[in-house]
């Protein structure tokens, strides 16, 4: 456990002493701010319209602002995850520092979990920026906080899974760009897989759609913890970390 924390600290340090973390956070804050602004603007317009028509419009901030925004975040996250994970192992391999880690009295799994945890913490910090925006909703409106909390849990689970996959891909190459591009491709594919369910109802389409990360997020966005979806994300985390450890192991037999 101590070793996990040592590695995690080191990774966080290197995120925050280089421009990487700041760049990612700034970009994310800008993009999410824009989404938030649009979403609230649209919500206001609908509110005004329903007032003018004299109809009682069901004005739920949770349903019309928070829920779609959370879904947006889960998609935006797909674009940021490769940038978080691409350096984790590729950089160590390129610099030769992997030899230091591999010849220190630290287990492979401790290194892997430490790195993955650091990536997850950076993602969580990104989520803090969304919390600043949501705080305005609580200041001027009266949304329910529980669905939002569950939504955040879902985001972290989803990110955990994709970050684990990204960590694995980063062990496969010395080149950060290759690791990043490959992770991006996989993330994108895991997103669009669910589209087949739109026109095809055969079993294979259902199976394919099941593997889509986004479809499992819907329940969390609604504020519901569906054990089926939670299990999917947890399995993805375990699969990713397991593959990473296998890949580290095979590194020793190959190089």
């Amino acid at each position: 456990m101590r070793n996990v924390w040592i590695i995690c600290q080191k990774e966080l340090n290197s995120y925050f002493t280089s421009p990487v973390a700041y760049l990612l956070l700034t970009m994310f804050a800008l993009i999410f701010g824009f989404f938030f602004w649009n979403s609230v603007g649209y919500f206001n317009m609908m509110g005004l319209e329903s007032q003018m028509r004299g109809q009682a419009f069901p004005m739920s901030v949770n349903e019309y602002v928070i829920r779609p925004l959370l879904s947006n975040v889960s998609v935006i996250g797909l674009f940021f995850i490769p940038m978080i994970t691409m350096r984790l192992f590729a950089e160590e391999k390129r610099m030769g520092t992997i030899e230091l880690l591999a010849t220190s009295p630290v287990r492979d799994m401790e290194v892997i979990i430490g790195k993955w945890l650091a990536a997850l913490i950076l993602y969580a910090v990104m989520m803090l920026f969304t919390a600043i925006n949501f705080a305005f909703l609580f200041r001027y409106g009266n949304p329910d906080w529980k669905p939002l909390a569950i939504g955040y849990l879902g985001l972290l689970l989803q990110a955990g899974g994709l970050l684990a996959v990204g960590t694995f891909i980063s062990t496969l190459t010395k080149n950060q760009i290759i690791a990043g591009a490959a992770t991006f491709g996989v993330c994108l594919l895991l997103w669009v897989l669910e589209w087949v369910a739109g026109y095809e109802t055969a079993t294979w389409a259902k199976v394919l759609a099941y593997f889509s990360v986004i479809s499992h997020f819907e329940s969390f966005a609604k504020g519901v913890i569906d054990s089926k979806d939670a299990v999917y994300y947890l399995s993805l985390i375990f699969l990713g970390l397991f593959l990473t450890s296998r890949s580290m192991e095979s590194l020793r037999w190959r190089t």
Binding site: K10, S14, T17, E99, L100, T103, S104, P105
Partner: protein, 333 residues
């Protein structure tokens, strides 16, 4: 401290290390000499548990590298060919990180970082970013990293590669000062480096250990001392090898006579000369004058420098190869 037996490392098509065996005693500095691509780095990577061996066993500081890698890793310091540095860290931060990785913490780690920084002469750059350091400083930070947890065994892969002459001297000085507390195995392809820093030398070529010797012998040989194999037969009846030995020892210029074996009244010896003395003629005369048969007289070994030059690929390398092997066999006996 280090025991290696029949160590072999195979890759898909090539054999990087081919059944090598050697031993390093506690507190010794041993040079691992060989041309580039001879298998030095691979051997070192196996000893540091970075790579698993394909065959054979390696025991470091009392623990097997395959069975108890964690125990081995706690007791070794390793400087790979390129020092494993994080450019975005400051020197002090880096040493503290490595110390923690090796299981140190708190006050004792702080004290040790200061000690090591002083010892490796990097105290003045402690708060500099590693990316801003010169090659010489980086190498020393790498060395500091290897000794931070005061390991029993130090494994240094070409610690002076790429340094300027002044830095090379400083680094050698530093390594020599580390001996005694630590058992050191260092690799190099520079012969004088071994002479200056090491007590024992292992010569490796194409994955095979071709010679092991003390540096003292290496110097003797390199400076023209001669080693001769001699077979003597008594003419009438049995002849006591001890008589032959004492006769040979009396010849001027002979420094050592080693009795090998006796078969059918034929006794063989290895005779070493003092530096710069040619003794073959005197040996032959002495044997004949004593009334014995001289069955065989041939040089036992070339100078290590010659061997090494051939190993490193000069034009005679091909034709001299069998001779090198003969030497290797002679050494193993």
């Amino acid at each position: 401290m280090i025991t290696v037996q029949g160590l072999t490392k195979r890759y898909a098509r090539t054999i990087a290390v081919d059944h090598i065996s050697f031993e390093v005693q506690k507190g010794q500095i041993v040079g691992f000499l060989g041309p580039n691509g001879a298998g030095k780095t691979t051997t070192m990577r196996i000893l540091t548990c970075f790579l698993p061996p394909s065959e054979g066993s390696a025991n470091v500081a009392g623990f097997d590298v395959l069975e108890q890698p964690m125990e081995v890793k706690k007791r070794i310091g390793y400087l790979p060919e390129t020092p494993p540095l994080y450019p975005e860290m400051e020197v002090r931060e880096y040493l503290t990180f490595v110390g923690k990785l090796k299981g140190m913490s708190g006050q004792s780690l702080t004290v040790r970082v200061n000690e090591v920084a002083d010892r490796c002469a990097i105290a003045d750059v402690q708060s500099k970013l590693i990316s801003k350091l010169s090659k010489g400083y980086r190498q020393r930070v790498g060395l500091a990293q290897a000794i931070i947890h005061n390991p029993d065994v130090l494994i240094l892969d070409e610690p002076t590669a790429g340094l300027d002459p002044k830095q090379i001297n400083e680094t050698r000085e530093l390594i020599r000062s580390l001996a005694g507390d630590h058992t050191i195995l260092l690799s190099t392809h520079i012969l004088p480096e071994v002479e200056q820093t090491c007590e024992q030398v292992l010569i490796i070529n194409k994955g095979k250990l071709v010679a092991t010797d003390s540096v003292h012998n290496l110097q003797n040989r390199a400076r023209g001392a001669e080693s001769v194999l001699l077979e003597v037969e008594g003419r009438d009846g049995n002849l006591d090898p001890k008589i032959i030995q004492s006769r040979l020892e009396r010849i001027a210029g002979v420094s050592r006579v080693v009795f090998k074996d006796t078969r059918n009244n034929r006794s063989s010896f290895e005779v070493e000369s003092l530096k710069d003395r040619v003794i073959r003629g005197d040996l032959a005369r002495a044997v004949v004058e004593a009334g014995w048969n001289l069955n065989e007289l041939r040089p036992a070994a070339m100078s290590l420098e010659e061997i090494f030059l051939q190993l490193t690929g000069t034009e005679q390398a091909a034709e001299a190869a069998p001779a090198v092997e003969a030497v290797a066999q002679g050494e193993e006996r």
